[in-house]
Each structure stands twice: as structure tokens, then as C-alpha cells.
């Protein structure tokens, strides 16, 4: 399978006392089989219930951006996370920037050279994010990707493109664009 979906590690903790239906976390890898030394494209998808929104990297006058920590075998490195263009939410108290419905954040994980071909490993994503309406709820969840080290690098497939399109990104592979994703204009 060209896109590898998450396995949630447990129930999310809603530190603000909300319920799980308000928002949930999904994590994806560009492909299941990786080669040691690869830069694996990964995506964090935050799905938000109707009427709520979550925050952009620069959240504006209130709120906070999502924080993502990736843990795994020794030697992995995670890139900074890329956010698509955000929507402005303005009220009498100012303007915040974020996303309704869902957002997909893009990153890369450097797979260490030390991993043996044929071995399996897990990447654990620990994510804190905030959703707001007239009140705000802090969400916290973890999700795990199980991957296998092979002798070749996998390929991004149409599932990845569909994920990005839904999450605010242009479809990769357009003329002149070789990056895993770029913002929709």
C-alpha cells in the first residue's frame, strides 16, 4: 500500500473536558517500506467537528499552534512541520488563524542508517492541539506508525495526493512541482 495509515495508541486525553467527537488525530506515512537513510514523508491530520476550528502555526490573537513530537529508534530526526494557508477568524477580541473541518500538516522523518534491512520499527506521534468555538479545548493524543526497513524506497501514491488535497494542499506532481506538497492558492 502506497500510503500507510495510523494505528491509534490509545484514547485521546481532552484536557479541557471535551469529548472525543470534537476532534481526532490521524497520522500517515508516505509509504510503508523505507530504506535506511530515507527522508520519509509523514502527515498529521487533525479532524475538527463542525462549528469548531483548530489553529495555524501563527495562531494570531489567541489560541496555540499544534505541537508534534515524534519518537522512534535512536537517530531519527524530524523536520519542522509545514502548515497550509490558514483562514482568519475575527471577532470583537481580535483575529485568530486556523482551520475548520480538517488540516494536514506535513513533515519528514530521517530514517537512521543504523537500522537493519528487514527490521521493523515504530514511529510514535505525540500531538497536542487546541480546538475552539466560543470556548477552547486542549486535545492530546498519540498515534503509532509501524514501518519496515527494506532495500528500496517506496513511492507516494494517489492516496497521499488525496490526503493532501483534503487537508489544504495542492496535489503533488503538478508540472514543475516535485515537492511532497505545496499550499493551495
Amino acid at each position: 500500500m502506497a500510503i500507510w495509515m495510523l494505528v491509534a495508541a490509545g484514547s485521546p486525553a481532552q484536557l479541557g473536558g471535551g469529548n472525543r467527537d470534537l476532534s481526532r488525530l490521524e497520522v500517515f506515512a508516505g509509504y510503508e517500506e523505507v530504506r535506511a537513510g530515507d527522508r520519509l514523508p509523514v502527515a498529521v491530520r487533525l479532524i475538527v467537528s463542525e462549528g469548531w476550528y483548530t489553529y495555524a502555526e501563527e495562531p494570531g490573537d489567541s489560541g496555540m499552534p499544534p505541537s508534534i513530537r515524534v519518537s522512534g529508534p535512536e537517530g531519527i530526526e524530524t523536520s519542522s512541520w509545514r502548515f497550509p494557508s490558514a483562514q482568519a477568524f475575527t471577532d470583537s477580541m481580535g483575529t485568530s488563524y486556523g482551520y475548520k473541518n480538517e488540516v494536514v500538516l506535513l513533515g519528514e522523518v530521517l530514517i537512521p542508517h543504523s537500522l537493519d534491512e528487514g527490521s521493523r520499527f515504530d514511529l510514535v506521534f505525540s500531538v497536542n492541539w487546541m480546538i475552539c468555538r466560543d470556548v477552547c479545548v486542549l486535545m492530546r493524543d498519540t498515534a503509532t506508525l509501524s514501518l519496515r526497513v527494506s532495500g528500496r524506497t517506496g513511492e507516494l501514491g494517489p492516496g497521499w495526493a488525496k490526503l493532501l488535497t483534503g487537508g489544504g494542499w495542492a496535489v503533488p506532481g503538478e508540472a514543475g512541482d516535485s515537492s511532497p506538497g505545496r499550499e493551495q492558492r
Binding site: 490573537d61 489567541s62 499552534p65 470583537s92 497536542n128 470556548v135 477552547c136 486542549l138
Partner: protein, 199 residues
Amino acid sequence: MKRGSNRMKVAVSVCLWMGMSAVARPVAPAFELQDVNGTVHSLAQYEGRIVVLEWTNYDCPFVKKFYSVGAMQSLQEEFAARGVVWLSVCSSAPGKQGHFTREEWRDRIERSGVKAAAVLLDESGDVGRAYGARNTPQFVIIDPEGRIAYQGAIDDRRSANPDDIAGARNYVEEALDALLAGRPVEVAETAPYGCTVKY
């Protein structure tokens, strides 16, 4: 001629700096608010003291960040012992998040171990607006001369995670330490972060 000219330049620079320093620290707006027990508190009654105004909303995740681990209470207690008057202010309007009945307030204050001298109720939002309170938590520190010495965020770590408290730069603590030591406040203003005040 040249030496005298330089002395004049220094004198003018010092005068300008002193003038600008006085203008840069605004006078804190006067207020009168009742606390959760109905006792009236005014800024005037604390003349000559250092006063902290802490805008709060106990149901805001950013406020919970500090209260859930006792961090805010520790600050309140420490600086009260050093003579600072710490007043929490809630500008949540009736029906909005953070607004409670007085009985609920007293219960929440006791359960949370709040060490502020008082929690003031600003239901109309007049005092919050006068001070430009936009977020919770948000701070205004008033010096003994009644001027605003610091306003803004509690620290430099914009998150709702208590784990981020330890490594953050605490502007409130810094400003209070400076005022108590008679030193200038290095950072007088920061952009606050948190939930919006629920006017």
C-alpha cells in the same frame, strides 16, 4: 569647544531618556471591583504597593496550565510574602466561560488553593477593557507610583502544556524581582497569549 559640545549632547540625551522613560510608563487606570465575598477593592487603597492584576478564567486551558500544577499559586504565595498585592480579575460576562456564581467561585478558589489576595469580579468588562485585557492569563504589574511597569504574557512559551512552564522565561517573575530590588524592568511589555477574555 568640542568637549563642551559633547557634554551638552550627553546632557540632552539624558534629559530625553528620562522624559521618554516617564512617558513610556502609563498611569494605571483607577478601578473599584468587588471580590467573591462582596468586599470592594480599589487601586487607590493599594497606593504605594506593587500590585499584580492577573486576568483569569479557570476553564481556559492556558490558565489551567498553571493552576493545575500549582505554578500560579506558588507565584502568588511567594510574592505576597514579599509584599506584593496579587489580585486576580475575571472579566467573563454572565453566561460566558469562566463566569461563576459567588458560591462557585469560593469553592473553586478553595479547591485550587488560590493564594491571590482577592479574586475580583468584573462582569461588565469595564476594567478589563480599560486595561486592554485581551487574553487569559494576562498580566498588568503596577509599580508603587501607580504606573504600569509590565503588561502582557506570563512567559515566553505559548502553549497550554504544563511541561512547558519549567523551561520558559517568566516575565512576571522577572518584573516583580526587578521592582522589589529597585532595578529597571528589562521587559516592560509582551504580547499576551491564551484564550480570549469572554466579555
